[in-house]
């Protein structure tokens, strides 16, 4: 299997919105992961998830990759956006909607 950093790079560039979380969207294994998924459900935005509990290498590597010590982690258009607190804050300020719309809009033009 490819180097974990390489796998992360591939994952975050394969979908517009990618969430590294504990568990999956149907069965989040942590309240912060659940809250993060909830935000994107509310926005009705398509996103993919990666369960770090199923892959210890990726769990460690994503923390190094983004210089961020906790899970969940959200990437939009391949760029690290933040964890649960930031996503919720950006959601309540309306900035997240703008980010998401821009990201999805770009894909529509491709």
């Amino acid at each position: 299997m490819a180097d974990p950093i390489e796998r992360i790079r591939t994952a975050i560039n394969s979908d517009k919105i990618v969430i590294f979380m504990k568990g999956n969207r149907s069965f989040p294994q942590c309240g912060f992961s659940a809250a993060t998924v909830e935000v994107f459900e509310e926005l009705g935005a398509p996103y993919s998830t990666i369960d770090v509990l199923a892959d210890q290498e990726v769990r460690d590597a994503v923390k190094t990759y983004s210089n961020w010590p906790t899970i969940p982690q959200v990437f939009i258009n391949g760029k690290f956006v933040g964890g649960c607190d930031i996503v919720r804050e950006l959601h309540s300020s309306g900035e997240l909607q703008t980010l998401v719309r821009a990201a999805l809009g770009e894909s529509a033009h491709q």
Binding site: F32, N67, W68, P69, T70, F80, G82, C84, L90
Partner: protein, 81 residues
């Protein structure tokens, strides 16, 4: 881990910051913190959180399971009140 210990670590890492830390489950591993620092001026949320995480170093990896963060500049803090 005590809330006070986390508060002191953040204050050491970000001199002059206003720091409030609360253990919100009482279990010593889930905390929430408010950090108000001039050093956040001109920085995005990711950078601000990274500065706080940096101050906590290895404690963030091992002893703190979760830390809910609110980060503000003194200006933002004043306008909030």
């Amino acid at each position: 881990m005590e809330a006070q210990e986390i508060k002191e670590m953040i204050e050491r890492g970000l001199p002059g910051a206003l720091v409030e830390v609360r253990d919100f489950t009482g279990g010593g591993d889930h905390f929430e913190a408010l950090v108000v620092s001039e050093s956040f001026e001109g920085k995005g949320l990711v950078e601000r959180h990274q500065a706080v995480y940096g101050a906590l170093g290895d404690a963030m990896k091992a002893r703190i399971h979760a830390l809910t963060l609110k980060v503000m500049t003194p200006n933002q803090y004043q306008n909030r009140r």
